[in-house]
């Protein structure tokens, strides 16, 4: 359940804090199946909106179709002034599958019990990754559904309702390369724009946001990577208890004296401790790592918005210059004037909506961090208390024996 809940908690509230109130369009991923390389998500929609033909309906979508939808939003000029919810990451079970395979290949030095436990752990890991990918895809859709402008997009309706395959094949190499190049050009462009002597940021708010976002994004990415490493070490630690417990068990089995009970009790203790430590690791993963990762992506989306606005500002500046030139030459002034006006309007439109979006981003971020940090602390306390109890009980038993 925690995987799904993670999705719900990091849900934005750009319109209102309580999203549950808006029931006119409810989207969720009700089912998911993993088949070889692909994951098939069942997207279920409940809506009373007039655009749809039914009140409740489902379609099956794959990851590529989510990406298609995301790109459609990004490329749409109408949404240039909005933060486009970050695309969900591609489902990746490679590492987990490899580990399971390696385990299956067999290691003669481990006992049957150890093998069973390790397999159980890996299966749980696989399942956790699966749940996470479902949550990521779901939260993407839910943010779209919650946004007053984005939810009205035609492609979104198609995505939700169209029963057939959207025939969106995965990007081929050329397109992928094109995508990378576009990103490079974009960042070069952005750097260029901001250094252009003519381009002065007119608004303090945006100047502050730009500085803030650049730094924030870098640091949150760092924090996310390091949180991942902590989680990974914790998981390794928990897994270490498997062979320890097994060895203690064997020792207990072959002992003939008073140590027998002690060894067996210890074996049981380490097994229980393992489960607790495993839970600490997975809670850290969900409440900390995943949250940081989400806001890393979201802050990137916010940066993209700023870039688009800067681009619009540059266009506006250029249009001004062109107009001046046209007036000087007294040629095509009309064209230049209307162009300049269009650019101005566009820039202002973008600035207004960007301001709102960025403020929403902040409040979204604060709410989400607050919730996750509280839950993290509560869970850590819960596990620490459970561990203490377990330790006390074990100590009592050990001390009580002759």
């Amino acid at each position: 359940m925690e995987g799904r809940q993670a999705g719900k908690e990091s849900k934005p509230s750009s319109v209102s804090v309580d999203l549950q109130g808006d029931s006119s369009l409810q989207v969720e991923i009700s089912d998911a199946v993993s088949e070889r390389d692909k994951v098939k998500f069942t997207v279920q929609t409940k809506s009373c909106l007039p655009h749809f033909t039914q009140l409740e309906f489902s379609v099956v979508r794959q990851h590529e179709e989510f990406i298609w939808l995301h790109d459609a939003y990004v490329e749409n000029e109408e949404y240039a002034g909005l933060i486009i919810p970050p695309a969900p990451p591609r489902p990746d079970f490679e590492a987990s599958r490899e580990k399971l395979q390696k385990l299956g290949e067999g290691d003669s030095s481990i006992t049957r019990e150890e093998f069973a436990k390790m397999k159980q752990e890996l299966e749980a890991e696989y399942l956790a990754i699966f749940k996470k990918t479902v949550a990521m895809h779901e939260v993407f859709l839910q943010r779209l559904a919650a946004h007053p402008t984005l939810r009205r997009d035609h492609n979104f309706f198609v995505f939700l309702e169209y029963g057939q395959d959207l025939s969106v094949r995965g990007k081929n190499r050329k397109e992928l390369l094109g995508g990378y190049l576009r990103n490079i050009v974009k960042s070069a462009d952005e750097a260029l724009i901001t250094r252009m002597s003519g381009l002065k940021e007119v608004d303090d708010f945006f100047e502050h946001e730009r500085t803030f976002l650049l730094e924030y994004h870098t640091r949150i990415r760092d924090a996310c990577l390091r949180a991942d490493r902590v989680m990974y070490s914790h998981k390794c630690l928990a897994d270490d208890y498997i062979p320890i417990s097994a060895a203690l068990n064997s020792l207990g089995v072959q002992e003939v004296n008073q140590l027998k009970m002690s060894f067996l009790k210890l074996a049981e203790f380490f097994e229980r401790l393992r489960k607790l430590e495993g839970r600490v690791a997975s809670d850290e993963d969900l409440k900390l790592s995943d949250m940081l990762r989400y806001y890393m992506r979201d802050s990137q989306a916010a940066k993209d918005l700023l870039y688009r606005r800067l681009r619009a500002l540059a266009d506006y500046e250029n249009a001004n210059k062109a107009l001046d030139k046209a007036r000087t030459r007294n040629r095509e002034v009309r064209t230049a004037e209307s162009h300049q006006q269009r650019c101005c309007q566009r820039f202002e439109r973008l600035s207004d909506s960007a301001k709102q979006e960025l403020m929403d981003f902040k409040s979204r971020r604060v709410i989400s961090f607050r919730k996750n940090l509280i839950e993290l602390a509560e869970l850590e306390l819960k596990h620490a208390k459970a561990s203490t109890l377990l330790l006390w009980n074990t100590l009592l038993t050990l001390k009580g024996e002759p």
Partner: protein
């Protein structure tokens, strides 16, 4: 919200159902079991007997060959060390008699039982009952501490001197509290003396700690880094445990050499200690014992007991090694966790600095502080993991090896009856010691884990209101 989801099948199998359990149970239950293959053998592979010590950094001793060269080496060495020096004879007699004694440095000193009485310490004349009473009474009013490692001298001739402090109310000592300075080779010298006198009689002499060329060289050349301080600390702790084990032995406690070691301010330097290091001896002995085993040995009824004990110790040894290896992995991962937590703490602090929402910024800084404290906790816990758990196990592995040798060696002894009685008693005492020792250390270790958890609770309880204060 839908209740069921298809879990991903593993490999190519079809999806199956799974259920989600309440928190408090396992988070995930999977009934998928598509992996056809199973481990080839559940039994752990048998580990080589030679690999006695897992903590040794030193080079292996010279290959053991049952020939004259080695005998000469030992003849030379034991000359210095033994108190009394009866005539030595090469041991590996070619007699067809059942008295086949495996070649060991200790039995070189007392070739025949008849001449043994000469080299046995006078203390053996004391009534056995007295010693036994002490043993059963379990009142060993003696405490040993090894502390204050100090570097003496410079360059390659430098060495570490340790303070050995004894607190006791036993009458055999002239004072109730006293301390002396000893160096590592002194400990080895003590061990070889004790081994030479008691091993062949059937006593289990606790093995001395490992030599380490690498470790010591670093210390000698004055490399003041954390690894050499760690090394010195490891050694200090090992020496302390060694002495504590030795004085717990009622017979060894009576030994004048031990008393001299603990009490006298000057000690004649033990030389040729390289051949006499604990694991070195055991390694050679195991090889010798193996060679001897291949010869026919006359069995009698008592041997059934030895056989059983040998098997028991063999199994124990294997399992302990496995456990030890796993605990070492644990120590390693805990250190990693500590380092990663520290790195995360830093990045959380940076993030907190960047965050422009004041309350959230503060909370993130608090989180960074908590994580830093947790990092410290992990470090201390790793320390406890190692010193309590891991070292205990490696001590026991080496002790068991000594006991295994015992059982093997004495099978051929001529004066079997007397020795076997001693051995049985020793093994019995060892068993009791082992139980007590192990339990004590495990309890201490678990208590250290409790400490860690309680600290964690404190830290998170302090953090929670900060998180809630984010407005």
């Amino acid at each position: 919200m839908a209740a069921e989801r298809e879990p991903p099948p593993l490999g190519d199998a079809k999806p199956t159902d799974f259920e989600e359990l309440e928190d408090g149970e396992d988070l995930f239950t999977s009934t998928v079991s598509t992996l056809e293959s199973s481990p080839s053998s559940p039994e752990p592979a048998s580990l080589p007997a030679e690999d006695v010590s897992t903590n040794s950094n030193g080079p292996k001793p010279a290959e053991v060959v049952l020939d004259d060269d080695r005998e000469d080496l030992f003849a030379e060495a034991t000359e210095e060390v033994s108190l009394d020096s009866p005539e030595r004879e090469p041991i590996l007699s070619s007699e067809p008699s059942p008295a086949v004694t495996p070649v060991t440095p200790t039995t070189l000193i007392a070739p025949r039982i008849e001449s043994k009485s000469m080299s046995a310490p006078v203390i053996f004349d004391r009534s056995r009952e007295e010693i036994e009473e002490e043993a059963n009474g379990d009142v060993f009013d003696i405490e040993i501490g090894v502390s204050d490692p100090e570097k003496v001298g410079d360059g390659m001739n430098a060495y570490m001197a340790y303070r050995v402090t004894t607190k006791t109310s036993l009458s055999m000592f002239s004072k109730s509290e006293f301390s002396v300075k000893r160096r590592f080779s002194d400990f080895l010298g003590l061990h070889s003396k004790l081994a030479s006198k008691y091993l062949h009689v059937g006593y289990i002499v606790p093995p001395a700690p490992e030599k380490s060329i690498v470790g010591m060289t670093k210390v000698k050349v004055g490399k003041e880094d954390s690894s050499s301080t760690e090394f010195v600390e490891k050694r200090r702790a090992a020496l302390e445990r060694y002495l504590q084990r030795t004085v717990k032995h009622p017979t060894l406690l009576q030994d004048p050499d031990l008393r001299q070691f603990l009490e006298s301010s000057e000690l004649p330097r033990a030389v040729n200690t390289q051949a006499l290091s604990g694991a070195g001896i055991l390694r050679m002995v195991n090889k010798a014992a193996d060679a001897v085993n291949k010869m026919t040995i006359k069995m009698n009824e008592s041997d059934a007991w030895f056989e059983e004990k040998q098997q028991q110790f063999e199994n124990l040894d294997q399992q302990l090694r496995k456990l030890h290896a796993s605990v070492e992995a644990l120590v390693c991962h805990r250190k990693e966790l500590s380092a990663n937590t520290a790195a995360f703490a830093k990045s959380a602090a940076m993030l907190g600095n960047s965050e422009d929402h004041t309350a959230l910024s503060r909370a993130l800084s608090q989180l960074a502080e908590v994580e830093e404290k947790i990092d410290q906790l992990h470090q201390e816990q790793a320390f406890a993991d190692f010193y309590m758990f891991s070292e205990l196990l490696s001590d026991y592995i080496r002790l068991i090896a000594a006991v295994k040798w015992e059982a093997k060696v004495q099978q051929g002894e001529r004066d079997f009856e007397q020795i076997s009685k001693t051995i049985r008693k020793e093994v019995g005492r060892f068993e009791k010691e082992r139980v007590k020792d192990f339990k004590t250390v495990i309890i201490k270790y678990l208590e250290s884990l409790v400490q860690t958890q309680q600290q964690l609770i404190k830290y998170w309880e302090a953090f929670l209101p900060e998180a809630k204060a984010i407005a």
